[in-house]
Symmetry: C2
Subunit: 519 residues, 2 copies
C-alpha cells in the first residue's frame, strides 16, 4: 500500500473517527484505484460516419500530406515508405503505410510510477485522471493571479500527490518561470520524483531535455537502460502544429521517447474556425489525419512503441477568435475522437477544460460538460483533471478543489451498483412498512457511514441556515479547503540511494549549464 | 409555425442582423423542435441486475403489498384481481396481474398543446424539456427570496413560453399563495392557457380541481369530451407517499385522468436513507414497486391510458437528513430508473435538480450531473428543466437563465453531426495547407454565423479584458439577461371565442366558490 493510502486513504472515505480519539484526517477519500468505465462508450456518430472521417484523413495524408520540419524524421519516414522528396519538407503517406504502422501500436500499456501502487493502465475501459499541466499563471482568491513560480509549482504537485483520485501528476501544473529555462526541467523533474510518487509527463523541448528526463526517470525507478526500454515510466504530449505541420522539438521527442519505449500522446490542437475547418467533421478529420501521421511515425521509430491518440478539438468564439471549451462542439469532438481511437485500437486522451476566468457556475458547467464528453466518449486518460481555468492560462487553487470534487463524484458514479439480496433490502422495506422511515433500521445503521459520497464543496444546508452562516458560495469553501489540505501534506518515501544519485545527476547537469535555451 | 417561432426563432439562432437595419431580437434561439437522443441510452447495470430489481419489486408487491387509502381505488384493484381484504387498506398484487396490466400501457403518446406546433411525443428516444414546477418560493438577486405570488408565477410562465428549448410549461413554477387555494387552480390554469400555448401539468388535488382542469383544457383545445378522451392535452404528476402508500387525492387524480385519457406520471419520492433503503438498489426497488403499482392501476382504470414512469430517487445527507440532488447516487438512480422504464416499455421522466442555495458552481455542477443522468439514462421528459434551486424550495430567475443555457447546450450536443464531403472540408484543408489559418476561407465564411452554439452566460473574454470589465460572474450576467428577455415577451394568439368561453367558466366556478380547501 502506498504512503498516501496509509496516511490518508486507509482511514476510511468519510473521515469519521473509527477509534476513540484519533482526529479525523484532513482528507477523506477512497483509496488509490484505477477507475473503469462500467458501460460501453457512447457512439455519437454511426460506424459509416467514422469510416467517412477515416477515409478522408487517409486521402488528406496521401494527397495533401503534411510538413515535417525535422530532417531525420523525414528520413525515417522515407525509409518506411513515405513519399518524401529532396528539398521539400512536405511528406505524403500511402493509406496502406498508415494503416500498417498504426496497427502495430499497442491497445493497452501500463504506465509505471516509482511507487508501483500508483501504476496505471492506459487503454480498454480504463480511466486515468491527471493533474492540470502547463499553465503560465496561477491564482488563489487570497493573493490573486500571478506568474507561475516554483513555490506554487511545488504546492500543486503536493495537492496532486495527496489526492488519490488524481492517478498521475501530469505535466507542470504551472510553469515555474522563476527558474532559468536551461535548468528548469532538472528542478521540475526532481520535484516530480521527490514530492510525488506518481507517474508524470515530461516536455519534448529538444533532445537534451528529453535525454535528461529519461535519465532522471531511469534513476528514480532504479532501472537499467535496457530495462527501461520495456517499461513505460513517463509520457510526453506531442502537439502537432495544426494545420498539417510537425515541428522539430516534437519530432525529436517522438524519436527519443518511442525508441526508449516511453509513451507519447499525439495531440493535434485543432480549433475549429481557426487552425481547423469550422465544421466539427472537418476539424476532426484534420485532427485525425495529424494524429494518424504522428501515431504512424512512433511505430516507424519502433514498432510496438506505446502511444496514445489525443483529442483536443474545440471551437473558437467566431466574434473574437478566443478558444472555447466545455461547449457542445467540444463534447461532440470528444465523442467522435474516442470513436476514432477505438477504431484504431489506441488508448484515447481527452481533457477537463473550461474558458471561465473564475470558479463560478460557468467554470463548473464547462468542466462537467468536458467530463461528460471525456467519460462517455471513452477517454482513457484525462489531462488537466484539476485546476484548469481561462482556457489553460491559469491553474487555480480553488479550481483544483472543485475539480477534485467533480472527479471524485464521477469516480463514485462509476462504481458498480451491487444488487445482492441484502442490497435489494426487501427485508428492511417489509420491516419499515407503509408510511414508515428507514433511518432507524438496522439495514441503514449498518451502512450509512459509507453509503453516499460526501462532497467537499456542496453546501446542503437549508436556505435559512446557509443564509445565517453568511451565504457562502462554493469558491469560498474551496479556498478554505485547499489551505487545510495542503497543510497536511507528507512527502512520499524515497530510497536515500536513489535520492543521492538523482541529486548528483542534477548537480552535474546544472554545472554543465543545463540545456540550451535557443529552442 | 408558432407565434414564438415567427417572432423569435425564425430570425436565426445567432441574432445577427440578417437585413440592413432590423435590430437583433432579444432572444436568439433554435426553433421549437422535439429533441431526440441520437445514441442508445446508457445501460449502467446489467440486464440480469435489472431483472433482480424487477423480481424483487414484484415480490414486494405480492408479499408486503402497499396501503391504498382511497376506497374506490381499492375496489377497482380488487375487481382487477388484486388481493384486497375487507377493513384493511393493504393491497397485494400477484406478479402476473402487475405484468399484464403494465403491458397495456402505451410505449409512446403525443402530448398535445393548444398550439399544435408545440405538441410533443413522449417515449422512444424523444426528449422533452419542461419548466420548473411547484416551488413555494422564488428569488432574484435584486429583490432576494420571497413567497410565491401571482406576479412571479406569471413571469415564469412568460419565460417558459418565450424559450423554444422549454417544450412544456410544466407545473406552477412557483406556487402563487396570494391567490386563495379554493380558486388558485382556476387562475393558474387560465394563465397557462392565455400566457402560453404549450402543454402543461395540472395538480391532482381532489376531484373538483381535476375536473375543472379537464374542462378548462377541453375548452382551450376546442374539443368535445369524447374527443378529449383520445387526445392527451395535459398531464399530472402522481407522487406516491413513500414508502408503500397511495393517498386519496392522488388516486382520485389517476382515476379521473386515466379515464379521460390524460397522462399521469407515477413518481415515487424515494430518498435513500429516509423514505427508502440506504442502498441504491434497495431505494430503486422500492421506487419500482410503487411505480409498477401506480402504472398498473392506470391500466385497471382504462387499458391503454397514457402513463409515464417517474424516477425521483436520490440520497439524503446522513448527518442532517437533508435531501441531496445531482449527486453520484442520483445519477445512478436516474440510469437504473431508465433501464427499468425501458424494460416495461413506458416513457420515462427524470428531473434537473440541485441542492444549492444560490447560482454558484455547486448549482451548475449539480444541474449538469442531473442532466447527464437524465439524458444518458434515457429520460423522455425532464421535469424542473429551468429554475430549480434549494432542493425545489425556490424558483430562481437567474437559475432559469442558467438552465435554459444548459438545456440549449445539450440540445446542440444532441444535433446530428453531418459528414458530407462539404463537412469533411478536405478542399478547405488543402487550400489552407500547413501552418495556415481557416478564418478567411470561403468554407468558414459560408458557415461561421451558425457554426457554433453561442452561450447566454459564458464569458469567453481573456482574463485582462474580463477583469477590466469588473470581473463579472455568471449569476450577474443571468440577472441582466432575464430582465432583458422578459421585457420582450409577447402573448401567444388565442381565439377570442375560446377566450370568452374560458373566462365564463372561470367566472362561474369562482362564483360557486371554487374547490373545497379541506384536502
Amino acid at each position: 500500500m502506498s504512503t498516501d493510502q496509509l496516511s490518508q486513504g486507509a482511514r476510511g472515505r468519510r473521515g469519521r473517527r473509527r477509534d476513540g480519539g484519533a482526529p479525523a484526517p484532513a482528507i477523506v477519500q477512497r483509496p488509490f484505484t484505477q477507475l473503469k468505465r462500467p458501460y460501453p462508450a457512447v457512439e455519437l456518430i454511426s460506424d459509416d460516419q467514422v469510416e467517412h472521417i477515416h477515409q478522408a484523413s487517409l486521402k488528406l495524408l496521401s494527397e495533401t500530406g503534411l510538413d515535417v520540419l525535422h530532417d531525420d524524421a523525414r528520413g525515417l519516414m522515407k525509409k518506411a515508405g513515405a513519399d518524401v522528396r529532396d528539398g521539400d519538407v512536405r511528406v505524403r503517406f500511402d493509406p496502406d503505410l498508415i494503416n500498417e504502422a498504426v496497427a502495430t501500436a499497442p491497445a493497452e500499456f501500463t504506465l509505471h510510477a516509482r511507487n508501483p501502487q500508483h501504476n496505471v493502465v492506459m487503454g480498454g475501459n480504463n480511466i486515468v485522471f491527471n493533474m492540470m499541466a502547463s499553465a503560465p499563471n496561477c491564482s488563489d482568491t487570497d493573493r490573486g493571479r500571478r506568474s507561475g513560480n516554483q513555490e506554487d509549482y511545488r504546492n500543486f504537485l503536493r495537492l496532486a500527490q495527496m489526492h488519490n483520485v488524481l492517478n498521475v501528476t501530469g505535466g507542470y501544473p504551472v510553469e515555474p518561470v522563476d527558474i532559468h529555462a536551461s535548468v528548469r526541467h532538472l528542478d521540475c523533474i526532481q520535484d516530480y520524483i521527490t514530492l510525488t510518487d506518481k507517474a508524470y509527463c515530461i516536455y519534448s523541448l529538444g533532445e537534451e531535455r528529453v535525454s535528461d528526463a529519461i535519465e532522471m526517470t531511469r534513476i528514480a525507478h532504479g532501472l537499467s537502460h535496457d530495462q527501461m526500454r520495456d517499461q513505460a515510466c513517463m509520457f510526453s504530449i506531442i502537439n502537432t502544429n495544426s494545420p498539417l505541420q510537425l515541428d522539430i522539438p516534437m519530432m525529436q521527442g517522438v524519436m527519443a521517447l518511442s525508441e526508449m519505449g516511453q509513451p507519447v500522446v499525439i495531440t493535434p490542437f485543432t480549433l475549429a474556425g481557426a487552425m481547423a475547418p469550422v465544421t466539427i467533421a472537418g476539424a476532426v478529420t484534420l485532427q485525425n489525419a495529424e494524429a494518424l501521421a504522428g501515431v504512424a511515425f512512433t511505430q516507424m521509430v519502433r514498432p510496438g512503441a506505446p502511444v496514445m491518440y489525443g483529442g483536443f478539438t474545440s471551437n473558437v468564439d467566431m466574434k473574437t477568435g478566443s478558444p472555447a471549451f466545455g461547449t457542445p462542439e467540444y463534447m461532440k469532438a470528444q465523442h467522435i475522437g474516442g470513436q476514432l481511437a477505438r477504431r484504431y485500437g489506441i488508448p484515447y486522451r481527452s481533457s477537463n477544460v473550461c474558458a471561465a476566468n473564475t470558479v463560478d457556475s460557468q467554470a463548473a458547467y464547462e468542466a462537467v460538460f468536458s467530463l461528460w464528453g471525456a467519460i462517455n466518449g471513452g477517454a482513457n486518460m484525462l489531462m488537466h483533471g484539476a485546476g484548469w481555468l481561462e482556457g489553460g492560462l491559469c491553474c487555480s487553487y480553488e479550481k483544483v478543489i472543485l475539480d477534485i470534487d467533480l472527479l471524485q463524484m464521477i469516480a463514485e458514479f462509476l462504481q458498480p451498483v451491487p444488487t445482492s439480496v441484502d442490497d435489494l433490502a426487501l427485508e428492511a422495506i417489509n420491516e419499515v412498512g407503509p408510511a414508515g422511515h428507514f433511518f432507524g433500521t438496522e439495514h441503514t445503521q449498518a451502512r450509512y457511514r459509507d453509503a453516499f459520497y460526501s462532497p467537499i464543496l456542496s453546501d446542503w444546508r437549508n436556505f435559512e441556515t446557509w443564509q445565517e452562516a453568511g451565504s457562502p458560495i462554493a469558491i469560498e469553501r474551496a479556498n478554505a479547503e485547499w489551505k487545510k489540505r495542503l497543510a497536511s501534506y507528507e512527502a512520499p518515501a524515497l530510497d536515500p540511494a536513489i535520492r543521492g544519485e538523482l541529486d548528483a545527476f542534477v548537480t552535474k547537469r546544472k554545472a554543465e549549464g543545463g540545456a540550451a535555451t535557443d529552442f
